[in-house]
Symmetry: C2
Subunit: 309 residues, 2 copies
C-alpha cells in the first residue's frame, strides 16, 4: 500500500518550493521525502500547481496540501485576495480549485506566516513558547506565535511591526501613516537613504559599504537600526515575547542591522525585559516547512473517506 503523505508548496514570484513529508504527526521538523524547486506556473496556476503536486507525490497517497502565497489570503475560503507578485492568482479561490483537481484537501495560507510558524517551532524559536518573528525585506512582516500557533488578533492583522510609527514627522508610508518602521528600514527606504547619502546601488551594497567602514553607510545603517530598536522596544512593552527571530533578505549574510539594533535595544531598554534577538535559521525552506506542518494538521482534521466535492 502506498504511504500517506502531505505536501507543502511555497509559491514565489519566479519559483515554487515543494516539500513532501509523511502525513504522520510529529513534534520534530517534518522530514522531507522529497524537496525541490520548480518554475512558477504563470498562465494557468491551478493546472500548473496541480501538475507539480502530482509529479512530486508520485505513487504516494496525498492526504493534504497547503499552499503558501506571497500576499493577502482569506484562509477560511482558500481565496487569494491580493498577490502583488502573482497577479494571475488575484481573487482566485485557489483552495477549492486545487481540492477538486487533486481530490485531497488543499488550504491556502500567507507564505510569511508559514515561514514564521516553522521558525518558531523548529528554527531559531525552538523551545520557547512565546515567539515573535520578523522578516525584513521590501516590506516588514511580523508574526506572534504562542505554543506554535499564530496569535493574529480579532481581525487577523496583529503583528504589523512594520507599521508601528517610529518617527511621527517622518516620510509618508504606503499605508498612509507617517513614519512607519517600513519608511525607514524597508528595502526601498534603505536604498533611497543610501543613494541620497551619495552611495551607489542596493541595500546589499549599503551593507557591504557599512562592513567596509564607509561613514555614509554607517549613518544610514545606524538610523535604520535605531528605528528597528525603537519598534522592538514598543513590541516588548505591548507583547513581551520570549524570543525575537529576525529573518528576510536584509537580515541574512552580514545581518549588521540586526546586530546594531540589538545593541541599541539593550542600551535603550528601561523597564523592558529584553529577550534574545536572534537570526532566523531555517533559511529559504522555512515557508515550505511551515506549509508541510500546516498540511499535517489539515490531514488530521479531515476524516478519512470524506467527500470533498
Amino acid at each position: 500500500m502506498s504511504s500517506a503523505v502531505v505536501l507543502g508548496l511555497d509559491v514565489g514570484g519566479s519559483s515554487v518550493k515543494y516539500r513532501l513529508a509523511s502525513a504522520a504527526p510529529s513534534e520534530r521538523i517534518p522530514e522531507a521525502l522529497a524537496q525541490g524547486t520548480v518554475s512558477t506556473p504563470k498562465k494557468d496556476p491551478v493546472a500548473g500547481l496541480a501538475a507539480i503536486a502530482r509529479d512530486v507525490t508520485g505513487s504516494h497517497r496525498l492526504t493534504a496540501v497547503v499552499v503558501g502565497i506571497p500576499g493577502l489570503v482569506d484562509e477560511a475560503s482558500g481565496t487569494v485576495l491580493r498577490s502583488a507578485n502573482l497577479p494571475a492568482l488575484d481573487g482566485l479561490a485557489l483552495g477549492p480549485a486545487l481540492t477538486a483537481e487533486l481530490e485531497a484537501p488543499v488550504a491556502v495560507i500567507n507564505d510569511g506566516r508559514a515561514a514564521a510558524v516553522a521558525e518558531a517551532r523548529w528554527g531559531a524559536g525552538a523551545g520557547e513558547r512565546d515567539v515573535f518573528t520578523l522578516a525584513l525585506g521590501t516590506g516588514i512582516a511580523g508574526s506572534h506565535i504562542v505554543d506554535g500557533r499564530v496569535v493574529d488578533g480579532a481581525h487577523g492583522i496583529a503583528g504589523e511591526l512594520g507599521h508601528v510609527v517610529v518617527d511621527p514627522s517622518g516620510a509618508v508610508c504606503a499605508c498612509g501613516q507617517r513614519g512607519c518602521l517600513e519608511t525607514v528600514i524597508g528595502a526601498p527606504a534603505l536604498r533611497r537613504a543610501w543613494n541620497q547619502a551619495g552611495g551607489d546601488g542596493s541595500p546589499k551594497d549599503l551593507l557591504a559599504a557599512y562592513e567596509a567602514g564607509d561613514v555614509r553607510a554607517v549613518r544610514v545603517v545606524d538610523r535604520g537600526a535605531g528605528a528597528l530598536a525603537d519598534a522592538i522596544l514598543t513590541l516588548l512593552a505591548l507583547v513581551d515575547p520570549g524570543v525575537i527571530v529576525i529573518g528576510g533578505g536584509l537580515a541574512s549574510a552580514p545581518h549588521r542591522i540586526v546586530v546594531r539594533a540589538r545593541a541599541l535595544v539593550d542600551e535603550r531598554a528601561t523597564f523592558h525585559r529584553v529577550p534574545p534577538i536572534v537570526p532566523a535559521t531555517l533559511g529559504k525552506w522555512a515557508g515550505a516547512v511551515g506549509a508541510v506542518a500546516e498540511a499535517r494538521e489539515l490531514a488530521a482534521r479531515v476524516p478519512v473517506g470524506i467527500s470533498l466535492n
Copy 2:
C-alpha cells in the same frame, strides 16, 4: 451545612472592598452574598485582612480568597514585591501568611489585572473574546485578555501601553524612556500641562474647563487625546483587539479624552481595523469582582481536604 464561599478583596490605600460569593463556578458575573468597604489595616496587614475575611465570611465555609493589591506582585509565591500606597506590604509573602491564618488557599494578584479580567468578562468587554483594557489614572495600566484570561507575555509585562513612546523628543518618563504615553496623559502630566497653560487645579478641573470651552483646556486635552490615539494605533497594529475598554479616574464622568481620542483614531487609521473603543462599565467594584472570579478558579484547583500547611 454551611455553604462553600469564596472571597475577593480589593485592597486600596485607604479602604478595602470585599465581595463574598458562592464557590460554585458560573459563566455569569459572581453574585454578591455580601459586599462592602472597610478601612485598610495599616499596622498589621496580615492580621487585619484575616479579621476582615473572618467577619465577612461569618458562618459560611471559606474555600478560597484572592487579594488584589495595587502594586507589583509575584503571583507564583503570593508575594507583594512593591506597593507604593501600602508600604507595610512591601516584600511580604501575603498569600502564604493569609493561607496559614485562614486555613483556606489565598492568592495575591495585581488589582488592575483583577479589574481588567472582570471588565473583559462581564463589563464592557462581555461577548468579545479578544479584549484590551486600559485604566487611565496616575499611571496607565493595560491588559490584553483573550478568552477571559490575561495574555501577559513571556515575562508577565505585556500590555504596557503607558510606556509606548508617542513623542521621541518628549519628556523623560519615570521609567527612563523619553515621551512615553504616560508623560503626556498620566494624571500628573495632565496637571502639569494644565497649570503651565495657566489653568488652576487638577485634571478634573481641566476636564471641567474643557467642557466649558476654555481654549487652553481644549489645547491640553487635544494633545493628550492625540497621544492616546497614536498609542492606540500602535496597539491595533501589533495586537489587533476586538474591543478596547477604557476605565480609570480620567476616563469616568465626562470622559472627554476618550471620546476625542476615539475620533482621532478613526481619523488617523489607515490599514488598521478600528474596534469599538468603549468606557468601562463595572465601576469601582470591578477589582473585587475580578478577585472573586479568580478565587472561584482557585477553589476549583485545590482538591477538597488538602492540607495547606
